[in-house]
Amino acid sequence: MAQREISMSKPAVGEAGATGQWRNKRPVMDAALCLAAKAGRVTCQFCWVYCPDGCIAQGAGPVIDLTYCKGCGICAEECPADAIQMVPEALHGACELAEGEEVG
């Protein structure tokens, strides 16, 4: 252990672990309804801007990182096209998606 040691952290994702495990509902996006997906360009992006955790990548349509998504449901609530549904995790079983994997 370095004698110079002080309490000083380095940045990394997942400080609190795979916070996707906190979730009891998961956001499921319907590309047929998503405005960006339908337009085939980066438009709308409400879900991206309102995500407290930075778990949604901009895109056409946006991509939700289920490893870390805590399932707050803001994206579903704020989506102007109702393209995201919050589905109980019990219906999915354990979270089997890899980090960054797209849903829906």
């Binding site: 252990m1 040691e5 952290s9 990394a12």
Partner: protein, 405 residues
């Protein structure tokens, strides 16, 4: 240019040392008897003699915080306070060493309220002895200047804050001749501070001082980082390392400037002494006269002055006390409900040591109460008689106390 000798107060000596150390950020809040230190620094910053940031904060809590913030980004910092000011910054007095920041703070020692009293004792700094600072006590104004300069080198070598303590009014407001070293002499002794442990760089971001768990925790690469207890153990080790660094810095200062102050402890007429009078600060200086007077009566008295109170110089004290017939500790502070802090620390460090003398305690000078050479001599004579009568321990003696019964 040869060093010039001026006549100055202890507060001016402290301010002069901060200027010679080329401090970069000064946090200032007034309190008697410290105020003239920051008044003098304010004048030098205003005139351009001292190119530093002068932050006139709204409280002592903020004074220490400004030093913490500035030291975290790598600046050399200075502040000074007394008594209630030190108590008001108590939270930050713990933060600075825990964060391993090399801040230097002068304390013009003053009595704690209530009731109000602006005069000298050492209750203020003694009350924060456990916070993890290096604490050095000065016996005169020259030592204040020299020790404050030395404090920066000690602080920056160990990444620990250093408190330079000197008696309010007795030293802070008393004029004495002080030899002021050249800037070149001090620049040779004290290089600029270039090695902060804290990293504040948007290109390499760090989160400094976050919540730290009881147990070690792995980083993202699986490497164990220390827990709170390891961080604290390393802090403690650094203080113990100061037992070697303080004398080494004092010696290096002698090489650069031609003066040294004994490192951890200093002594007067100690070599053949049977009776040892122990104290910190100007009181110990006064005791040298007591010792000289008692020697004229045929009592072999010497003085052991505590310069470093934290870390506590256990070995240096043991070496100098084994084989004596009695040690009498004069404290200008009290752990209420027990006894003087130096007294109990000293007794503790001698416990079980072969040939250690009995340690008696005396409390004096609280709230600026005068203590005369004759009263100190009486106390010493009493201790000699008690030790000769075979006493190994006794109640704390209160000197010059006027209570019935």
């Amino acid at each position: 240019m040869a060093p010039e000798t001026s006549v100055m107060t202890g507060n001016e000596a402290a301010a002069t040392a901060a200027r010679l150390a080329r401090v970069q950020v000064i946090a200032a809040y007034p309190i008697t008897p410290q105020s003239p230190v920051v008044e003098q620094l304010a004048a030098w910053v205003e005139s351009g003699e001292l190119p530093a940031e002068f932050v006139a904060v709204e409280s002592e809590h903020s004074a220490m915080t400004v030093c913490i913030g500035a030291a975290t980004v790598g600046a050399r910092t200075f502040t000074a306070t007394s008594a209630n000011g030190l108590a008001y910054m108590f939270e930050q007095v713990w933060w600075a060493p825990g964060a391993r920041l090399p801040i230097v703070m002068c304390i013009a020692n003053r009595a704690m309220a209530a009731p109000w009293n602006v005069l000298n004792d050492q209750q203020d700094s003694m009350s924060v002895r456990d916070a993890g600072w290096v604490q050095l006590y000065c016996r005169n104004n020259q030592e204040i200047l020299d020790t404050t300069v030395q404090a920066y080198l000690i602080a920056e070598k160990l990444h620990l804050p250093v408190m330079v303590c000197y008696d309010g009014f007795l030293l802070s407001h008393t004029m004495m001749p002080v030899s002021v070293p050249d800037a070149e002499q001090i620049d040779g002794f004290l290089p600029p501070f270039t090695d902060p442990w804290t990293i504040v760089d948007p290109g390499d971001p760090r989160n400094i001082g976050p919540v730290t768990l009881a147990d070690p925790r792995n980083d993202t690469e699986g490497v164990a980082a220390p827990g709170y207890m390891e961080i604290r153990a390393l802090h403690h080790r650094a203080l113990l390392e100061a037992l070697a660094v303080i004398p080494a810095v004092d010696s290096a200062y002698h090489d650069a400037v031609g003066r040294s102050w004994g490192g951890l402890v200093w002594e007067h007429l100690l070599e053949d002494a049977d009776v040892v009078l122990v104290a910190a600060g100007s009181l110990a200086m006064q005791l040298t006269l007591t010792a000289e007077a008692l020697r004229e009566e045929g009592i072999k008295v010497g003085v052991l002055g505590i310069r470093a109170y934290r870390p506590f110089p256990i070995e240096a004290l043991r070496e100098r006390l084994v084989g004596r017939s009695v040690a009498l500790v004069f404290d200008k502070a009290l752990s209420y409900g027990y006894e003087g802090p130096i007294c109990s620390d000293l007794r503790g460090c001698l416990l079980g040591v072969e040939g250690a003398p009995p340690v008696f305690g005396a409390v004096c000078g609280l709230g600026g109460r005068d203590v005369s050479l004759e009263q100190l001599a009486d106390a010493a004579r009493g201790a000699v008689a008690d030790a000769a009568a075979g006493m190994r321990t006794r109640e704390t003696d209160w000197i010059n106390l006027h209570l019935e019964g």
